[in-house]
Structures are given as structure tokens and as C-alpha cells.
Subunit: 253 residues, 3 copies
């Protein structure tokens, strides 16, 4: 299966650049710039307003929606409600990033209710998945979570685990710098949102997003001296990435 | 005329660095950091609050005001009203950037009403100008828009068109990376705001802002590998830019 | 004393990387990303929400709190009140950065009332300290301010002055680029917050924060071409910094 997933990721990246899907991001204020630049580098067109008054227009004209719970103020909560109603009515796919819900029970509760609203993919780290699932974020737990919520769980860390309950993939790509720069996980979820805009199989889309980020991260890390110069190099690597590089670097466990 | 405009841009850049005007920016949360760093690199002093409670103080002590409609929440709308009243009373010049108004009719309506409040310059891309003017953003349309609103229209793209209705300039400088990084257009409008603080002729100020960004963008692009490393290099290029480089690179159509 | 402070800074940096304290930052929207990346590079774990609804949870689980008054909207004001109550009750140390209070009397008044709530350190430039103290920000004035408010004053500029009233240090490290990039001062205060999480003597913690930033800034400046490439290089330098480099570069006046 991993050879197919690798080949398909290369195709999807090309498709992304051809179709240029619009990805609307309700995301935290810390990572908006990096997220926008990662999406642009991959070929997607980002928009970022979190204003309840205009979120409806932006969501309705988007090809996918990202809901990230960082810096979750009242405005963002209202915007999420409005946007999710629009995308449900219009059949626009959306993905969920429950950032730091292990630090705030209020945020964790919201994440649990959102997980039941059929996000195509939920992307988080193990600590966040534990808080979301109120149990251990192991492979069995994630399988159950995916099946119960009719979604795909993408749990990122040293090795990324993607599961639909029926299908599982483990991706080994990535670099330690990715945990030393703020917003890489958030941008990764945004990439997955871009892929769900061009791929109906959300399991494949989640793998594609993580694989693109992981491979680009490895390539970027080769040429830099630390986490500061890693960020610009990562954007460069995503912008230059092609199917041959993905083929050469992809490592599934 | 283009030789004069080129020479004058070099002079204005030197003047900016000598006078260090304060540019207050009501701008979207995605681009605040890049905008601030572009202004600092050019010699201006940025401030960025969008809080209605304190915007009056900041606007009153500024030498120019930028109004950018991105991530337009209720706070920003209130801040715009207060700031425009202050700058009108105090004779402080201001410029308008109607970001993404082609994606939200609510935002487009606000932009149309703001365009009638005598911004010195309106800077946008063709899609945004079309939404603003409710018609094609061609040279004739832009001329009419400038004359009707007693402003200067600066329409950026592969070739930038600046028009006051009476005078027109077309600038060919720039690089494809500038469309692949979020916030370059926004920063460009901020640069124009810095130039209207030191140059009463807003047509000349608009040309200066676009020429500085276009020439710096070309210089920066020579030394980098992609859109990620382009951003830091662009700031470096603006900080190092001088009249001789502008002279050497400026290309008017 | 300066040899001791230098040696202790090296030890504290190692301690920071071992303990990985959580630093919650109520800071302005312009500098959130840079601040987070500086903290990560130093070894601390940043969080950034300014939402009144969730600030209590984040402050309670933090090891130190940063209160920065930039882009001071109603939400941030409410968040500051709630967070300060939590950290007072729980004995969590906090530091104050009264950004640009010389531009807004409203903000200056708030800063004065906050200074009386026992921040471990107040970090600002001379203009901001003058507004805070309503008098000249010279060594005697800063001593008095520190004694009156039972805090440490860290006044940054070409030479940084740190005083507890009883002890004074003057640090000469740093580079001109640090004034040409937005948010360096803000990130410096965040670093001080990280050090107060691992060092009870706030005078020593303030010196450590400024020394780490100043030395890293000098190292970063050697390898770059301008203020744009300086930012990533600064993060790299902080991430790679060790006691031997601090020893080699530290310069006290």
C-alpha cells in the first residue's frame, strides 16, 4: 500500500498546483503567516479571516475549511459555528486541529463536540489526542476514535500514524527541527485541508499532507543551521517538491 | 517622466530614512510582522494596534495611516472609523488596501464607502479593483475611479499601473515570488503610506512605493532558492537599497 | 560580579533546556510568532492565548507569565486581570513589557498600575521607562523605580542597564539589527520570563535574558546581510548557544 500512497501523493501535489483550491483557515494568530505561506508553496490559495461577520462568505467560496482551536477567543468560537454550518450545507470538506486541548478543559470539550461534526480528518499530537479521546492515544484507541466519529485520525510525532479504522499508515519522515518551530503541526493540518479539497478519500489526503510536510522537512533540514533558518527552507522545499523527490524520500514503517 | 520618477524615488527613500515617519497600520493579523519589518527596513517607524480604545492616540501621533481590510472584525471596523476621523481633523494622509474584497460583499461595500473618504492612494490587485469599481479594472476604469474619488489608483500585478487620472505610470519591476508569499501586496501599500508621509504628490508617492518594492524584489530573488528564503532577502534588499540601485533596475513600460 | 553573572547565565540556559518551563505569553499580535520561536530555541515551551475564557487554565499550568501591552484590546486587558489573579494566588512569577506606552496615555496608566502588582522584572526601552516613571530614565530614576515597586528594571538600548536598586549591571552586547526588526525587545522580555521560571533571583534572571539575546544577536549578525536574514539567524544562534560562547562574548560595562 505504501508504494501506492507515495505515488498518489505525487499526483495529488501536481493536482493541487493545477486546481489551486481555496483553503479557508480559522486558525490561531500565532501561526497565520506560516500557514498561509505553506499553503501558497504547495499551490493552494489561503484566506484567514476569523470575523463572524464575514466568515460565511469566505467559507462558502472555499474548497476546504481548516478549524484550528489555538488562541480560541469568542470571535473564533462564533466563526467556527457559522463556518461549519456553511460547509455542511454546501458539502465542503473540513479538517480539525485541536491545538493544546490538553492545556484547557474548555477547549477540550469544544474539540470533542466538533469531532462529532464529521471532520474529514483530525490531526493532533498524542497528548492532544489523549485529551480528545479521554484515553491513551495508541493505535487501537485511534482506530476506535476514527470509526466512532467517521473520520480519519492523523496522530503526528516521531512517527506519524494515520488511521481510518479500516486502513492504517505509519510515516517515518520528518526532522527534529519540526518540533522546535511554532506552527509546523498547524501548517501540516492546513496542508491536509488542501489535499481533502482535491482527494475524496480522506485517508489518502491525510497521508499526502503528512508525507509532503515530512519529506520537505527532511530536505530543508539538510541545508540549514538551526530551527530559525529551517522555516524559510521548509517553504522553499515545499514549493520545489515533486513526485520524484517524494518517491525518493518517503519512508513508511 | 520615468527618469524623473526614478530619480525622485531615490531622493524620497533617503528622505524617509532621515525623517523616519511614523506609519500607523490598521492591518490584518496575518501580515502585521512582515509589514512592520518592511517599514523598518525602509526607514519608517511602524505601529500596529487595532484596539478602538487606543487607536485615536496612535493615529494622532502618526505621520501617515494605512487602512487594510484583511481579517476585518468588529474591532478593526470601529478602529477604522475612529482613526479616519482623527486623520481627517489633523490633516494626516492615509492610504487604503481593500484586501480580498472580491471574496466578501460586506467588505466590498465598506471599501466603496472608504474610497470616498479621500485616501491619498488605493492599492489593490485587478480582482480587488474590479470588485471596488464594480466594473473592469482596465486603464480607463482606473482613471475614472481615481478622478471620481480624488485619489490615486495603484493596481498591482505582472505590470503595475499607477494613475491619478491625469498622470499614468506603468512599472515592470517585480518577481513571481512576490505573488507566492503572503502579505507582499499589503506591505507594498504600507510602503506607499510611508512615502505619502514625506511626499505631498500622492502619484509620485505611489510610484515610489511600488518601485522600491519591485526593485528590491528583483534584487532579493537573485540570491534565493524559493519563496521561503525570498522574504528575509526582500527585507535585506529594502534595507540596503539606494538611489543607484533604483536607477539601475527601474523599468517603466 | 560580571564573571559570576556570565557563568550563572550559562548554567541557567542549561537548566532551561533541562526543565523546559512553560511560559504563557499575553503579548501583541505582531510578535507572537517570533516570541514563540525564541522561547522554543532557548528551551522553554510557549503558549499564547489571550482569550479571557481560557487564560485562567493556561496561566495556572504555566511556570512563568509574560504580560506585554502591545495591541492592547479589551480582550487582552481582561486576560491580563484574570491571569495576574491566578499567578498571584499560585505564586507563579511574571514579568511586564510596557510596549509603546509613550504613544498612548491610556496604556501608560495601565502599565503604572501593573508595575505595582509585583512583576519580577519590567523590561522596556528608555522612552517607555520615562513614560512609566513620569521622569527621566537614568540610573538613579531606575534604581528608585525598582525599589519603589519591589521589582527589577531592565532598560534596554545600545547599553542595557539592569537594576534591583541594590545591584546594577550594564550589558554592552547586542547589534544594531536588533532595533531594525520588530519584536526583538518583546522576545527579550519573554526570555527573561523563561529565566524567572528557573531562577529565584530576578536580577540574575533579567541579566541572563538580556545576555543570551545580546550574545546571540552578535553571533547572528556576523553571518547575515541585513535585518531580514538576521531574524532566522538569531533563532539559530539562540538554539546553538552554550556557556562557552556566552563566556567568550559577554561584555559588561
Amino acid at each position: 500500500m505504501s508504494a501506492e500512497l507515495t505515488a498518489r501523493t505525487g499526483e495529488l501535489l501536481a493536482l493541487l498546483r493545477e486546481r489551486r483550491p481555496r483553503v479557508h483557515c480559522i486558525t490561531n494568530s500565532v501561526v497565520q503567516e506560516l500557514t498561509a505561506n505553506v499553503l501558497l508553496a504547495a499551490g493552494a490559495i489561503p484566506s484567514m479571516t476569523t470575523s463572524p461577520e464575514e466568515i460565511g462568505h469566505f467559507a462558502a467560496s472555499a474548497d476546504a475549511l481548516l478549524v484550528n482551536l489555538g488562541t480560541l477567543d469568542g470571535e473564533r468560537r462564533d466563526a467556527i459555528d457559522i463556518a461549519l454550518e456553511v460547509v455542511r450545507d454546501d458539502g465542503i470538506p473540513w479538517v480539525l486541529d485541536p491545538v493544546l486541548i490538553d492545556r484547557s478543559e474548555l477547549r477540550a470539550e469544544l474539540a470533542r463536540s466538533l469531532a462529532m461534526k464529521e471532520p474529514r480528518v483530525v490531526r493532533a499530537n498524542a497528548g492532544e489526542f489523549s485529551a480528545l479521546m479521554q484515553g491513551p492515544a495508541d493505535a487501537d484507541g485511534l482506530d476506535r476514535f476514527a470509526l466512532d466519529n467517521i473520520t480519519v485520525a492523523a496522530c503526528t510525532g516521531a512517527v506519524d500514524l494515520v488511521t481510518s479504522g479500516a486502513k492504517r499508515a505509519r510515516i517515518e519522515n520528518g526532522h527534529a527541527y519540526m518540533a522546535q518551530v511554532t506552527g509546523i503541526g498547524c501548517a501540516e493540518t492546513a496542508l491536509i485541508a488542501a489535499f481533502v479539497a482535491v482527494e475524496d478519500d480522506e485517508f489518502v489526503a491525510a497521508v499526502a499532507g503528512l508525507l509532503v510536510m515530512g519529506v520537505a522537512g527532511e530536505i530543508a533540514a539538510q541545508a540549514v543551521k538551526g530551527p530559525g533558518s529551517f522555516s524559510p527552507a521548509l517553504i522553499d522545499a515545499i514549493a520545489a517538491l515533486d513526485a520524484a523527490q517524494i518517491e525518493r524520500h518517503a519512508r513508511f514503517a
